[in-house]
Structure formats: C-alpha cells, structure tokens
Amino acid sequence: MYELFFKSLNEKIALTKEEEEIIKSYLTPKKLRKKQYLLQAGDVCKAIAFVEKGTLRAYSTDEKGNEHIIQFALEGWTISDLYSFITGEPAQYHIDALEDSEIVLITKSAQDEILKRVPKYETYTRMQLTGAYMAMQRRLTSIISLPVEERYIQFISIYPDIAQRVPQHMIASYMGLKPETLSRIRKKIASK
C-alpha cells in the first residue's frame, strides 16, 4: 500500500522505523477507478497524490471543452494542483485516473504535522519540488524552442513508459498538438 512511497523517501532520506510509522499515521490510502476524478477544477486541491499503482493525469479544459494535459503521473510520481495546494485557492486543473489506480494522499495538514515531527521530510519535499521544477524547465524549453518532430523524439526517449501506456490522443494533448498532427509526425519518424 505504501511500498513505493517509502522506497522513494528512503532513496532520498534514510528513515528509521519509528519515523516511517509516524509518517504512515498521517497518510491517506485511496483507490481510484479508471476515469474517476481525484480533483475537479474549481475545488481546492487538498492533497498531493503519490502514485503507488496506475496512472493519473492533470489537465485543464478550455472554453470549447478541449483538454490540455499538463502532466501524467505513473508509479512513483506525485501529482497535484500545486498552486491550489499551497495557496488554498480553487484549482485550475482536473486530475483523474487513466487506469484503476492506488494512490497515497498527503493533505496539507498531514504534511505540516509530518514536517514538525520528522524534520528531514523537508529535504524530501525540497528534492521533489526541485526535480519537478527542473522537469518543467526542460518541458518549457522543448515547447518553445524545438521542432515538433524532435520534441516527440525527446518525449519518447525520456518517458518511454508513458508513451507505451497512455493513448496517443492524450500524448498529443500533452504536446499541444492535434491528434492528426501527432499521427503524421509518428508516421514520418517511422518511415525514416
């Protein structure tokens, strides 16, 4: 239920058994069915979700109802509407499950308590946020400066497992492309 979560923690900060038990007491285990929402835009994002099993995505919708995927989260990743989580303002993103999933939720109040009782958890959250920030910089650079074909090649080389598990139209949405454009690019790459 918490295997990957504690593996991820112990890779960054070595926890004692007591510290693990303290952290465990603040975690909310949750199962989601495929297509079930964890969060809908407009609500406050009350928790950060760590994926133990399955896949989730975060996306916004525009006025025409088109979905724009900002992030996927596979096993071992975290996902949230961070702005909403930190500020308590309504979320901009929807988060839902692309497969039946098992997640671990860390609410704001749980996080505050964990930080008080296990101070080195701060190091873990800093490392998580730094990692997410670096990935976001790379993604932004890729979007604003690379030709689409190279962007796709870069995407599948960095995230081969997402490319395998997520439908193509969602990858197109993540890349800011129409599905037919992505399909054309894939054919072009395949024919090389």
Binding site: K24, S25, Y26, L27, P29, T107, S109
Partner: protein, 220 residues
C-alpha cells in the same frame, strides 16, 4: 464541492443504512453499498439507480476495498459489531472520516451499555486512532429519512467530532439527506447525543409516536 466524494456505507442493507443510502443518492456522492454476510446490496443499488438515474451507486462485497476506495465511511452497523469491523478496515480508513451512527442501547432499551464517561463514538475513535470519527445520524430514526419534516419543522441532526474539516464535510452530507445539520461539539459530546436517542426511543415506545418523532432545537 464539484469533485464527487466516495461514500462507503457498511451495513447498507439495514434500516438505517438503506435509508441513508437512498437519501444520499440525491447528492453529489458516489456510493458504495456494502452487502451484509447474508444479503446482497445489489437490489438496493438497482432500486436507487431506477429512482435516481444519475446516481453513481454500486454494491460491493468487501469492506476492506470499500473503505480503501472511500473518502467517507459510514458504519451503519450495530454498536456490538463496530469492534470487529474497525479491525478489518483500520489500515485503509487511515486519516479518513468514519461516521458512527450507533447507539449503544442495552437489550431492554432502557439504558446504555457504555459507561457514562465514554460513548460508542469515542470507543470507535480509540479503535481507529488515525481516522476522523464523527458522530452523526444517531438522533434520527430510519423512518425520518422519508420525512425529515415533523410537525411542520425540519428536524435537526446533531453532529459531533474533533476535526473541523471533517465536521463541515459531514454537515454537508447530513444536509443532503434533508435534515438540518447542527454541530453539537467535540466527539465527547456523543455521550449526550447517544443519551438523547435513548430518551427518544423510550418516549417513542411510551407515547406511541410510531417512530415519527425527532429532535428540534427551538430558538429565536
């Protein structure tokens, strides 16, 4: 809130459990109805869906999975069964709202089986130390759910608990069922709430209210 909360009702085929399930189906909740050991919740789920075509409701036969999927767990089971159930769901009920509806009435309905310095809800909290136990629905009869308005007044439904956010979420849930939610105080207030239902049960028997009775705080 737009995001549908998953509410698992353990004991959904009993009088109280099924009354709560039927009432909640009108709200923005996804309901998981746990079947009992000798009966299934399939027909209740079908009945609710036929009355509320938009309702997201299904029966489930494993209390562990039902609680794992849940945001809110309602224990609509007798007081005596809460201990065994708490053991089964403790791990997956961690940090979740668990609603205790039970009244620890003795076999002759003339007293409580708990000692005066505790309550069914507080005992459940001891068994589920990392869950947010909230007392609710214990001062209403199952018959009230069909008609929460008695003598022209919307009956009150008292809520007690120690977590403010949990109290607010349960208050919304109680409002969905048609009662007027009233937050009574901390979880220890359950002693009074459970005693109030003992009184109502006794008055109901003595005065033949035919279970058409409830609580209302009158005020100006």
């Amino acid at each position: 809130m737009q995001t549908k909360q998953t509410v698992s009702i353990i004991g959904s085929t009993g009088n109280m459990g099924s009354a709560i399930a039927r009432s909640l189906a009108k709200g923005n909740y996804r309901l998981l109805l746990l079947s009992g050991p000798n009966n299934t919740a399939d027909s209740l789920a079908d009945e609710i869906k036929s009355l509320n075509p938009g309702a997201e409701v299904e029966s489930i036969d494993c209390c562990y999975n039902a609680s794992w999927e849940a945001d809110i767990i309602i224990l609509a089971i007798p007081f005596g069964e809460e201990f065994a159930m708490a053991e089964k769901i403790r791990e997956v009920a961690n940090q979740k709202i668990v609603i205790s509806i039970a009244n620890p009435l003795n076999g002759t309905y003339d007293g409580l089986s708990t000692s005066p310095d505790t309550s069914a809800a507080e005992q459940l909290q001891k068994l589920l130390p990392n869950s947010k136990v909230v007392k609710a629905f214990n001062t209403s009869f199952s018959t009230n759910f069909n008609q929460p308005v008695l003598a022209g007044k919307q009956t009150d439904a008292f809520i007690a608990g120690d977590d403010e956010e949990a109290l607010n979420l349960v208050s919304d849930l109680v409002e969905t069922t048609g009662f007027n939610p009233l937050i009574a105080g901390p979880l220890s207030m359950s002693r009074t709430l459970e005693g109030m239902q003992l009184l109502l049960v006794q008055l109901n028997i003595k005065n033949e209210y035919n279970w058409q009775a409830g609580w209302k705080i009158l005020h100006n």
